[in-house]
Amino acid sequence: MSDTLDCAASPAVEGAAPEVKITVRDLDFYYGDFHALTGISCDIKARSVTAFIGPSGCGKSTFLRCLNRMNDLIPGTRVDGTVLLDGQDIYGPGVDPVDLRRRVGMIFQQPNPFPMSIYDNVAYGPRLHGVKKKSELDDIVRDSLERANLWKEVKDILDRGGLTLSGGQQQRLCIARVLAVQPDVLLMDEPCSAIDPTSVQKIEDLMAELKSSVTIIIVTHNMQQAARTSDETAFFLQERSGEPAVLVEFGRTADIFTSPKDKRTEDYITGRFG
């Protein structure tokens, strides 16, 4: 974690080392008067899987939503500190959150396909960004569904409603929908907690395949899942209710789970609380 300090000292725009995708420095977050997160700093490595773990209500989802500015949609929220994506401050003046979200895609806990056909679900993003040609859309839809390991199951029913699929298929459809806009980063907010175990396996396999091209950050309640899927792990904790949550420890997943440096991490990992 010593490189973290080096980065913080150098000028912001130059700060990110090549393999670092997202740099967060001294981030504080507020819901109105409620101070939810404080002093968060970390470097998310490109083309890897980073897991955010911690007890319920510890702010890991809130932090995740800071990374694509989804919290902007909630009135009364405020962010202090810097978040750099490839060295550029995403909260900088004039940055368009809409454009940011095209590069930083998101998968939610509850699969949320649009009430339209499978094809239209996947074509939604490309169409937003001006792709009109049918043949081009066909290619994107097929490619995205293939990358999401869903093509074989749906190739003959592309005009059927997205909501007719099973929960696990719906979640993979949502992943295909996000992949269709070619994001660099994929934020996954407990993507497996509302689907069946077989589908969980498929999504974890998918994450392993995708990380060669996409930076993945996953929030999970399931520590085995964090241990199985991630390269690095961040442990968040709100120590007392009413106080802001902090990032207790951040490091290689193997280290966090076998030899945590912080007593609080160890207590959580070994199941002493949360």
Binding site: L100, R101, G105, P115, Y124, C174, V178
Partner: protein
């Protein structure tokens, strides 16, 4: 009430007391009575109107009534076509103006307005529903009609004035129901769209309105029912000439306004013919309600 238990012996289940039983039964019947009254009201009115209006089909004849193109009671002509066309023109025009206005209002309230603005606009829209129609008519007569008169020539009595007034009158119905329809679209879908890099406008236009489509169509149909049945405000501005539509600034008459115009002096066949008009209005309403029911079944089917 209950005796203290010894921990070993399992407690016997209590029997329902007689007073509880009676109270439950009385409440059940009371609520059933309420529902029955509403149904009975509709049935009784329908039977009454049918009973008084039915003879029109023998006295005027099916063709003379439904197919007649002249409404001249003094000459014994009771053709409803001009009135039907008048009602249709007035209603469709009002919908064309009012439905986009109302859907726009609902989108603003549901998706765009900050809470503080919403807390002012929503009651204002609801208040609009509480304004008596005679007040709308009065406003139309004194404020809108002169403006229309300048635009179209003549006195300003006619469909255009009625459209403008009715368009505002149907806003609360359509806006409230459309807002409900938008509100029932799961939040996850909104988030998904924004997270894909969609703007607010793209989210509304490409995802939310299509997702709420059937609910919005419902709302527009009910707004149509409101427009077709509106009497007083229309009566005051539409000109009440039972002739075919000749232009947006020329007087026409509608099914409802003609009933009010003729009722005070009508007798004999003429009176029967007015009840005949009421039957037609009833059937149109039933058709619209049936359409809404059919659509909502369709919506359940697709979920």
């Amino acid at each position: 009430m209950s005796e203290t238990q010894t921990s070993s012996a399992p407690r016997e289940l209590k029997l329902m007391s007689r007073s509880t039983y009676l109270k439950e039964a009385a409440l059940k019947n009371l609520f059933m009575l309420c529902a029955t009254m509403a149904v009975a009201g509709v049935v009784l009115i329908f039977l009454f109107v049918g009973w008084r209006g039915w003879p029109v089909f023998s006295e005027v004849g099916l063709k003379g009534f439904l197919g007649g193109s002249e409404w001249l009671p003094t000459q014994g002509l009771f053709g409803i076509l001009p009135l039907l066309v008048g009602s249709l023109v007035v209603t469709l025009g009002a919908l064309a103006l009012g439905a986009p206005l109302a859907v726009g209002t609902a989108v603003f309230l549901s998706e765009i307005a900050p809470p503080r603005v919403r807390s002012v606009v929503r009651p204002a829209v609801e208040l609009l529903a509480g304004v008596p129609s005679v007040v709308f008519g009065f406003f139309g007569l004194l404020v809108v009609r002169p403006i229309v008169a300048d635009l179209t020539g003549g006195l300003g009595f006619g469909p255009l004035t009625a459209w403008l007034i009715l368009a505002i009158m149907i806003v609360p119905t359509i806006a409230t129901l459309t807002e409900d329809a938008l509100g029932s679209v799961p939040d996850g879908i909104r988030e998904a769209s924004y997270a894909m890099g969609a703007t607010t406008w793209q989210t509304i236009w490409r995802v939310l309105l299509p997702a709420a489509k059937i609910g919005i169509i419902d709302a527009v149909i009910l707004g149509m029912g409101r427009a077709i049945g509106e009497t007083m405000a229309v009566l005051m501005v539409v000109g009440n000439a039972p002739v075919f539509f000749r232009g947006i600034g020329k007087p026409v008459s509608t099914l409802t306004s003609q009933i009010v115009m003729d009722m005070p002096y009508a007798s004999g066949v003429h009176r029967t013919a007015l009840f005949g008009l009421a039957i037609i209005l009833f059937l149109i309403s039933m058709g619209l309600v049936g359409l809404v029911r059919g659509l909502s079944r369709l919506r359940e089917g697709t979920r």
